[in-house]
Symmetry: C2
Amino acid sequence: MRANYKMQRLFVESDLGEGTRMLLATDQAHYVANVLRMREGGEILLFNGRDGEWRGRIEAVAKKKVEIALVEQTRPQTPPSDLLYCFAPIKKGRLDYLVQKAVEMGAGTLLPVITQHTQVPKLGIDRLQANVIEAAEQCGILSVPHVEEPVKLEKMLENWDENRQLIFCDEAAPDNNPITALERLKGRKTALLVGPEGGFSESERKMLHAADHVTAIPLGPRILRADTAAVAALALVQAVIGDWNS
Amino acid sequence: MRANYKMQRLFVESDLGEGTRMLLATDQAHYVANVLRMREGGEILLFNGRDGEWRGRIEAVAKKKVEIALVEQTRPQTPPSDLLYCFAPIKKGRLDYLVQKAVEMGAGTLLPVITQHTQVPKLGIDRLQANVIEAAEQCGILSVPHVEEPVKLEKMLENWDENRQLIFCDEAAPDNNPITALERLKGRKTALLVGPEGGFSESERKMLHAADHVTAIPLGPRILRADTAAVAALALVQAVIGDWNS
């Protein structure tokens, strides 16, 4: 949505600071040299999740090697988002989408949650983390969300941090206005739980409603796909109690 | 998100009423007979956007012919949504997505708007309308949104209905809380305008800000893709002044 955000951004592992010169990793060097076709003198933004964002200048381009010298820090490091995003993995294409959207919408940690209706045989955490990094590069954030190992819903609730309120999207939520429900959570640490396609089972819904530190919010009269519900719920959370409200 | 919504729903053109017997159109007959592999006695939900939703019973299945007898009306017709959704067409895959999401989120009319950064050589209205129908079948609505012919942004603003407030997503919106901005529009007819990837041009932003009946809302500190911004903005509009707030 920002017209003026055009410079290429790359996430790197190495430290970034005054006078740093560095070689890009092989795949990134390939991308910069052969896909973007950038050459000596080209500029690029780099971040590593710790040292803020830096403008770098390409010093040398060889076949599989791109050397960059940092010119200046363009933005100081921002703290990581505290929003925990718990999601039931869905089918591949839509899962990538779900992860990207969570990053754009400001999730801090992504926790895959296995529910009764979850149908994902093998969840590639590395693939999810790569998706997170790509989304972070595109949406301009400086802190890269972390993808946790999957956990079963029951286990998650058993070990729940009582200082954090879990918000879940429930079609039969008692409160008929999601904004009013969220306003009551102002100032608290929060997590959002998004169910699988097909929703939570009846026993899961009961378990969630019976648990402490859980707030159910409704998302209107229509049936939403899991990925739509995720973005919609994140928008409400950010606008009412998150970083869109500052 | 609804666990209990399992019966197949089909949009049909023909009238639906007590005692109606009907043949499905060829492509739908193929879908029911050969993809779903439904047989005599199977039940299906039908709607046409005028006569509510009806439960039908499959009476006969032949190669390209499926005959259905209506059993009972399951839901009365609901009025169409009054929310006008104006969107700059984006690239194909994401455009389908944008349209589906708008339907799920309760748009009533979809108006493609050509902006300076819009890059879509040929917009297939028929394809968009087919996408709308598929989304309507899935998300359980009874009134099918209509896709209008594309219009240029300037023309749209020139001919704007003064009884309707146009909400647009602007990264530099004066109001720093989208909810407060939306609350001022309670009771008014509304439209939402979502820009293209790359955003509006500076002159377009000026034109929008200078126009009457336009409200700019911010969508947080991160760069959102057009399709993410669309769902996020629709969620806020529905929750604050739309049909999630009833």
